[in-house]
């Protein structure tokens, strides 16, 4: 009964204080595809993404009913940093959806104008924020006269809403509110924001400085939690990012047992249990997280941290991919002996049989579309063959030649035209380095393995469009005893969601014994009945392993494997993410045998050139 009454009370209060026009609300997700080009056209950074903004706390003057209901404490305001532009996930300010929609476009354009100035929004103080927003609004209205009418409409609607709060304000706050309203009506006309206690009611037509981050402790904890439940929670319902901070809660006394182990009666006694937390459901945690302004990350007590990790190097057998067969013995080049050592490496083919079918990730769709368009032009097309003995049409030129050049044979010769499907005899094998080094961060957002995965997916999309045969493999190694050779897509298989799922599931691990992987790839490619055979290697650094493969041994073996591939009639080419690749790659692949990429977005321009160079279409 208490709960029932409480619920009714809550609903009643919420309805009373809610000022949103839900029936006319506009979602960011529905407009994001239009907002991105709009932002770029207005002069915003091409690489910036548009994301949802989390509500922020504002200390505004609230009515008593709002105080009782606990509402109007947090508002979604827009802001931007180097990485992204954050806009409210929903705008339901006005009763007309056109006006709400306009607010999105207005804020995006304003952000683009802010970008063009040299002002650092994050560093700007509140007063500068007031001036900058006015200046940007005024510039925008001057350069885009088509926005003026809608801006006036929105401002009128906004002012009528803001008028309702003026009754609760003290004189200083009222003066400040008047200044804001005047600045909205006529941007650029107010030079100073009067001081007053508390925050003004958020101006949702303006951009705010990025939220201040608390001084945070860098985590040196590399044991991230890969739990599936955590991953599920990671998908936010609002598609926005939470502010987070790390705290240093490491206890210096942890980890030291100052009692005799014999006195340890049971394992359970020693486990730190937080019963409250254990009993709460995942959904509760998610909703609590939604309400938090800042999520604090602890260095301690990760989920599963109480488990002891027994195997630091090899995954447990049941979690590993499916090994195929007993392995293949391959030779290796010993540079000191200057000869191949036969049967030295054991290569083990693996198949990720549990990988779930996957779609192309969202962030690659546009690049993939561009690539597909470019590569579809390479698709073998039907061509007219002239001067044929038989054919569908008469070749007039050939016939005239017969008539005009009497010295030639009197009998009609090849005077027909025929159409044939012109096929390119081409097979391409992609070999990706999946060693542990690919787990390192390339930049704030990406690991090397992410770029390798994206590269493989984009290559696959492009090659599917060109109609050429291709296969994709990955490799890593643990000494010469186990060169792990992952089958991602073979030549016989079609590029389907299953193959894509296997590519999406690639994980970094172990070392880089690249010579054996190249030799195996060479053997596979040699079996293909095509004129041209491409071996594309995608790597992030030098060959290495924990035995003598480090250093010159690995380099020499790789070079030898590449020479063998060339002798077998293959064209090896390396795409690397290693910025220092210029040091050793020319030695391995030759001056024109490699390309260095640092950004997957460069692939659309790089790939066609690379592919054309290799296939010799333009030669």
């Amino acid at each position: 009964m208490e709960e029932f009454v409480g619920e009714i009370w809550h609903k009643m209060l919420t309805r009373q204080v809610n000022t949103d026009c839900v029936q006319a609300s506009v979602e960011l997700t529905t407009l994001s595809q239009q907002l991105a080009p709009w932002y770029r056209a207005m002069g915003g950074g091409a690489a910036k993404v548009i994301e949802g903004a989390q509500p922020r706390k504002f200390n505004i003057q609230r009515r008593w009913l709002q105080r009782i209901a606990g509402s109007h404490k947090r508002f979604s305001v827009s802001w931007q940093d180097e990485r992204s532009l954050r806009l409210p996930t929903t705008i339901a300010l006005f009763s007309q959806s056109e006006l709400n929609e306009f607010v999105y476009f207005w804020l995006t354009a304003l952000a683009a104008y802010h970008c063009q100035t040299t002002i650092d929004l994050q560093q700007s103080l509140v007063n500068q924020w007031f001036i900058h927003n006015q200046n940007a609004s005024s510039e925008l209205l001057n350069s885009k006269p088509g926005l003026r009418q809608q801006y006036q409409n929105v401002v009128q609607a906004l002012l009528s809403q803001r008028q309702t709060i003026t009754g609760n304000l003290n004189p200083a706050q009222l003066t400040r509110e008047k200044a804001i309203q005047q600045a909205l009506i006529s941007p650029g006309s107010v030079s100073n924001l009067p001081l007053a206690p508390g925050d003004p009611l958020p101006v949702l037509l303006w951009l705010y400085p990025a939220p201040l981050h608390l001084v945070a402790v860098n985590s040196d904890d590399r044991l991230d939690d890969f739990g599936k439940s955590a991953a599920k929670q990671g998908v936010s319902r609002q598609q926005s990012r939470k502010t987070a901070q790390r705290i240093d809660d490491a206890k210096k006394t942890d980890g030291l047992l100052i009692f005799q182990l014999e006195s340890l009666f049971s394992w359970a006694e020693q486990v730190e249990l937080d019963r409250c937390q254990d009993e709460s459901l995942d959904e509760d945690v998610a909703s609590v997280a939604d309400d938090l302004d800042i999520i604090t990350l602890s260095r301690q007590r990760r989920a599963g941290a109480a488990k002891i990790k027994f195997d630091l190097d090899l995954p447990a057998a049941e979690q590993d991919d499916l090994p195929l067969g007993n392995g293949i013995k391959l030779p290796e080049w010993h540079y000191k002996k200057n000869q191949l050592v036969n049967h030295y490496c054991l290569l083990q083919p693996f198949l990720a049989d549990d990988a779930e079918p996957a779609q192309l990730p969202q962030h690659l769709k546009q690049i993939a579309q561009t690539l597909r368009k470019q590569f579809s032009c390479l698709k073998p097309q039907r061509q007219w063959l002239q001067r044929q003995p038989f054919g569908e049409e008469l070749d007039i030129d050939a016939w005239l030649d017969c008539l005009t050049q009497q010295t030639r044979s009197q009998e009609p010769q090849n005077v027909f035209k025929t159409r044939i499907a012109n096929s390119r005899q081409m097979a391409c094998l992609l070999l990706a380095d999946l060693s542990m080094s690919t787990d390192s961060a390339l930049n704030a957002q990406q690991k090397v393995i992410d770029v390798i995965r994206d590269t493989l997916l984009l290559f696959a999309e492009a090659l599917t469009s060109s109609g050429d045969q291709f296969a994709i493999y990955g490799f890593s190694s643990v000494k010469n005893k186990q060169v792990r050779y992952h089958l991602l897509k073979n030549f016989a298989e079609k590029y389907t969601e299953h193959a894509r799922g296997r590519i999406c599931a690639i994980k970094p691990g172990f070392y880089t014994r690249i010579g054996a992987a190249i030799r195996q790839s060479t053997n596979i490619l040699k079996l293909q009945q095509t004129e041209q055979k491409l071996l594309l290697i995608i790597s992030d650094g030098k060959p290495n392993d924990i035995d003598q493969y480090e250093g010159i041994y690995g380099i020499e073996d790789t070079r030898q494997a590449i020479l063998e591939a060339k002798q077998a009639g293959l064209q090896p080419f390396c795409v690397t993410i290693d910025e220092k690749g210029n040091d050793y790659l020319p030695y391995l692949f030759g001056e024109k045998g490699y390309a260095i990429i640092d950004d997957v977005t460069r692939l659309p321009t790089l790939l066609p050139k690379l592919y054309l160079n290799l296939t010799g279409i333009h030669a």
Binding site: Q33, Q34, L35, A36, P37, W38, R40, A41, M42, G43, A46, F105, A109, S143, K144, P145, G146, L147, T370, K373, Q374, C377, L378, W384, D397, L400, D401, L403, T404, Q405, P608, K609, L612, I617, H618, A619
Partner: protein
């Protein structure tokens, strides 16, 4: 060519072209679609007082189409010169527009004409023509997206004096649009500002940028009485993309600009 051809020089391209012409050197012009390559060649032909033979290259263009072929007439078969042979015999500028669209074997016939020999061997008649002193070979292509897959052979490229064109500077583009369409300067300025916004979308949302030619089309439509926004929708939004979301963003940009 009776009508006077307008051309507004951007850099020193006119001077370079004249020097190339005086030294009997062929010229290669690179640049995006609709930036004024063809107009430039027409202007130079007029300035140098030479005839111009324009050939729009395409996939099926053969060497025969350039050089000539035997035809059947009332008196039997006879030889008909192609545009290239005519230009070589009589003098004039032979302009191969979008040369990379032509088949690779076609462009090889240009080699002996483009170097110091300046000859055109005609295999079918057994002739070897020495080029007329006024003969000049000019080729153009767009090295952007469309032709990246069909780049020009290095051996062909290295026979030409190269000029790279781009869309004109905004103030020049305004003058060009006013001159070509007759609209007033303020409207032309707004159109150019819109085009610059659209050009920022190139390589991300659009395959190719809004060209000067499209701006001139838009201006002509406006001049002939079509409402400004409608002209922009039809001449800019529609030709630039088929993607409905991008098109809506462009339409919104047009709405914001006028």
């Amino acid at each position: 060519m009776t009508q006077h051809c307008h051309y507004l020089s951007q850099d020193r391209e006119v001077e370079i072209f004249e020097h190339a012409a005086n030294n009997n050197l062929p010229v290669m012009i690179k640049g995006p679609t609709g930036c004024g390559k063809t107009r430039f060649v027409e202007y130079m032909a007029q300035k140098l007082n030479r005839a111009i033979y324009t050939i729009a290259c395409h996939d099926d263009l053969t060497a025969t189409d350039l050089v000539g072929r035997h035809l059947i007439g009332a008196q039997g078969t006879f030889w008909q010169d192609g545009p290239l042979t005519r230009a070589v015999r009589e003098g004039g500028i032979c302009y191969l527009d979008e040369v990379v669209e032509a088949r690779k074997d076609t462009t090889v016939v240009l080699h002996p004409l483009a170097d110091h020999r300046r000859i055109l061997p005609i295999e079918r008649t057994g002739e070897v023509l020495n080029a007329h002193p006024d003969f000049m070979l000019v080729i153009s292509y767009n090295p952007g997206y469309q032709n990246m897959l069909k780049g020009l052979k290095p051996s062909t490229r290295q026979r030409f004096v190269g000029l790279t064109f781009d869309y004109p500077e905004p103030q020049h583009e305004v003058v060009i649009i006013c001159q070509e369409s007759g609209i007033d300067k303020s409207l032309a300025t707004q159109l150019v500002s819109l085009a610059q916004a659209l050009r920022r979308l190139t390589d991300h949302d659009l395959e190719e940028a809004a060209s000067t030619r499209l701006l001139i089309y838009t201006a002509l439509m406006i001049k002939s009485g079509l409402e400004i926004k409608q002209a922009c929708y039809a001449c800019l939004a529609q030709p630039l993309t088929d993607d409905s979301q991008t098109q809506q963003a462009i339409e919104r940009l047009i709405d914001a600009s006028f």
